[in-house]
Amino acid sequence: MKVPMSSSAIDLASADAIARYEPVIGLEIHVQLATATKIFCGCPTGFGAPPNTNVCPVCLGLPGALPVLNREAVELALKAALALNCQIHQHSRFARKNYFYPDLPKGYQISQYDEPFSENGRVEIVVDGVRKSIGITRIHMEDDAGKSMHEGFKDSARYSYVDLNRCGTPLCEIVTEPDLRSSDEAYALLTEIKQVLQFVGVSTCDMEKGHLRCDANVSVRPRGTLPFGTKAEVKNLNSFRFLKQALDYEIARQVAVIESGGTVEQETRLYDPDSGETAGMRSKEHAHDYRYFPEPDLVPLRIADEWLSAIRATMPELPGRKRARFISEFGLREYDADVLTSTRAASEYFETAARVSGEPRAAANWVMGDLMGLLKTEARDIADAPVSAGNLGDLVKRIAAGEISGKMAKEIFAKMFASGEPAAAIIEREGLKQISDTDELQRTVADVIAKNPKQVEQYKGGKTAVLNYLVGQVMRATRGQANVAAVTELLKKMLGADRIC
């Protein structure tokens, strides 16, 4: 086997070889905070504006301009830290991270370095039914850079172009401990963090828009040994699929290097989604010296207890806890609880429907089945479902009360979805109420018995299957509004009574 070079077309390790090693993975996750304006100026953070229009002297880094910290960004960052069970420091500081790049107009990024606002968090993941706690090393705030564009312009052959709209967008960087032992665990962690941050409204976590970006530190060690191997930092893992692919590739590459007698180099590698491979970007010798020092243009950040308490009070129940509660309180199956806590909107919708109906499991089936089905067909989000959670709960309650049949409910629901009306309005207008009134039913059943003497005879002769036909006749006569169970009971009773006579 060749010693793999840090370029493409290398031999990867076999599955057997890989199995002899244990990967050690930590993630660095950048999350765009869902603020209306940038972190150090009043420019909007919107996506898709014409290049270099959402800019001002501050985010353009013009001479003399100064940053002013956005309070909303700090609030969202604090929520992220609370959601990831981090310790929050009352006193923290911003620092300059110095490097030259055309989309970094100040020549430095304003970040936090030796005094981040938050450290020592924990997140639980479940992989193959096994629960595991992953450490969060730290969370800090920083500003985003602009975007360099190398294609698509008239002079792209000779020049690169820079769009500074994104410059100054508020970010949180979440750094995890090297607690992950497989690409599946990394996938699960990123999923969990994304879900939690969406839940608390910290970020949309839209990966396509770059609101969630991920880098990974990866090393491998022979199974059963303790010392960490040399790590490579893999960048550009900007979808869940890429994260898994890149990690699997990188693990196989490192094992191959070691198995062939080589040593893994400490370096930064870039993942190429087209080839599915990682390639060396810069070695340790060429690592940047960012020359961090405290940002003199900002005063230290002090987080008052009262402020933190106020933010804590607004924190919603987090998905993990909610999931557990849905199982214990509503008797949901684990799978259903997972689906119904996948987003905050879904969980809130379900919970309202469950409470209104008094039938949580039936409500769960309706939400996951009919509602989500129709929403999917129309590519709509549950947050703007035409049927309100209260109205769906009310529908389920009416089924449970026997007021309408399940079959009728399906029709009513379709109409509710189309018009947004509550079930009551549709039932009223279309006269769809289920007939459970015994006097009324008794007359119809007697009528059916009278009109079908042959079938009655067969039934009495012991051919009980004919009962279904008679039930059908009653249902037809009532335009489907009769309660099937009540009809069956009545038929049996009246035919039986006859026989006795």
Binding site: G64, L66, V162, R291, P296, V299
Partner: protein, 479 residues
């Protein structure tokens, strides 16, 4: 009315009695300044359109019987590191030779709101780095008192304009003495207010934790009026102070009886010749005015220069990174790659002093050196600040020299950066502590070269500082 010796009061009186309109006064001031400027080169360029527009607003306010503001119609020279919307702001650097800012510094906005007129932009050391204004990419400034001498620096142009009479007052910036030292060299009043007293928004950064905007004037009162107009909290500068701005002129009553003054031993031990004689004469005047003078000790002073040149270069290396040729910086035309563009733009654009400081600053922040240099310097800075805090437990003000020597000859120290750095010894301690300090004229050497006296007070103690300087000025002991 002699344009070159106007004061703010004289301008107010001229406007109030309709002796002249603000527009007439501005035109006259521009005519005079444009005619006289070649003698010193104090101004880099003038801003007649902006000046006349501002004057028209003042006249309009006067016509409507409104208060035109404390600086109404007053011609102001502005150091070219303070950004002015629509008016070229070069920082005396080739890199910004054609840079026209799209916004105004807060100090400019406030100064104009008070009726002030921006006459033009003054020369200085490139990005305010220097003590002689010889580091300007556009040529040196000559000291109006002695044309073969430097005006001091880095705000040499602003000091020279006020001394020459081509502006009534001026704005400068001070990082380690860049207002006080040229004020001393040119024989005018120069004030470095408390750090955070005047917003830095729109002041092109050299060393952010040390940069101040402050006034130059021919009288203490004018300096106090100008500071009053530009001081105060600015939401655009997180480091600007909330403390209310007192009426500085109310304190100019000459009453300094019983004020306790400290003379720091460490500042005086090496002071020689006429600079020393003039300072002690000044101290005697203050004693006669009723001040109690005692010797004090500020032991951390010896480390001030090293501390200052580590912190200011570290911050400068970061602040000057943005001049990279990508957007507004003059880009070197012959570069094929990004790294060539950076190197050529910065290599060709920055002058020697800026390069020296960028390299020093990059070095002291580098991995493995940070603790030994930058972090240690911050600790020493805290010690220097403690010296001041302790001193102000005993005294109301500190009296000190501004510079070890009066204005030197053009070119005399240009090849010896170390000698140039050492000349900052008396001014940088106040800068590092962030306390208010000023230079007030204290007499002239036998050759007729001005020498200033430095007055320093506790944080936000500008009122005491102005009271003392004003009483000293009014005593008539000087001149």
């Amino acid at each position: 009315m002699k344009i070159e010796s106007l004061t703010i009061d004289a301008v107010r009186q001229a406007l109030g009695t309709r002796q002249a309109s603000a527009a007439e006064l501005t035109r006259e001031a521009l005519r005079f300044a444009e005619r006289e400027n070649p003698r010193t080169g104090a101004y880099l360029h003038f801003s007649p359109e902006r000046a006349l527009a501002a004057a028209a607003r003042v006249d309009e306010r006067l016509a409507h019987g409104e208060d035109p503001g404390p600086l109404a119609g007053v011609p102001v020279a502005v150091k070219d590191v303070i950004v002015t919307k629509g008016v070229r702001t070069t920082c005396a650097s080739k890199l910004l030779a054609n840079y026209v800012p799209p916004y105004d510094a807060t100090a400019i906005v406030r100064m104009e709101a008070a009726g002030g007129i921006v006459l033009g932009k003054t020369n200085c050391d490139e990005f305010a780095m220097g003590s002689s204004t010889e580091n300007s990419a556009f040529g040196p400034v000559r000291n109006p008192v002695a044309l073969d001498r430097v005006p001091g620096g880095s705000s040499g142009g602003s000091a020279a304009a006020v001394a020459q009479g081509t502006a009534v007052v001026a704005l400068g910036s001070d990082t380690g003495g860049s207002i006080r030292q040229p004020a001393s060299f040119c024989g005018v009043v120069g004030v470095t207010p408390t750090y955070g007293r005047v917003s830095r928004y729109g002041l092109t950064a050299f060393a952010s934790s040390l940069d101040h905007i402050g006034p130059f004037a021919r009288t203490v009162k004018d300096a106090a009026i100008l500071l009053g107009a530009i001081a105060g909290r600015d939401p655009a500068d997180s480091t600007s102070a909330e403390a209310p701005v007192p009426d500085y002129t109310a304190a100019l009553d000459g009453n300094v009886k019983g004020l306790k003054l400290g003379l720091p031993r460490e500042y005086l031990k090496d002071l020689k010749g006429e600079s020393s004689d003039l300072l002690y004469r000044g101290v005697d005047v203050l004693k006669r005015l009723g001040c109690e003078v005692r010797e004090i000790s500020m032991p951390a002073t010896d480390y001030a220069i090293a501390t200052y040149y580590i912190i200011c270069t570290a911050e400068a290396s970061s602040n000057l990174a943005r001049y990279d040729g990508v957007r507004y910086t003059t880009r070197s035309p012959h570069s094929d790659t990004l790294s060539e563009m950076y190197r050529n733009t910065r290599g060709e654009g920055f002058g020697a002093e800026c390069k020296r400081r960028i390299m020093l600053g990059t070095y002291v922040l580098s991995h493995g050196y940070y603790d030994a240099y930058y972090l240690k310097a911050q600790k020493v800075r805290a010690l220097i600040a403690r010296d001041f805090a302790r001193a102000f437990e005993q005294v109301d003000a500190i009296v000190a020299p501004v510079s070890p020597f009066p204005a030197f000859k053009l070119g005399e120290k240009l090849d010896d950066p170390m000698a140039m750095y050492l000349s900052d010894i008396y001014t940088i301690t106040g800068s590092l502590a962030g306390v208010p300090c000023m230079s007030v004229p204290c007499g002239q050497t036998a050759e007729g070269l001005p020498v200033g006296m430095q007055i320093l007070t506790r944080h936000f103690g500008e009122t005491t500082m102005f009271r003392l300087a004003h009483a000293f000025e009014q005593s008539g002991a000087v001149n």
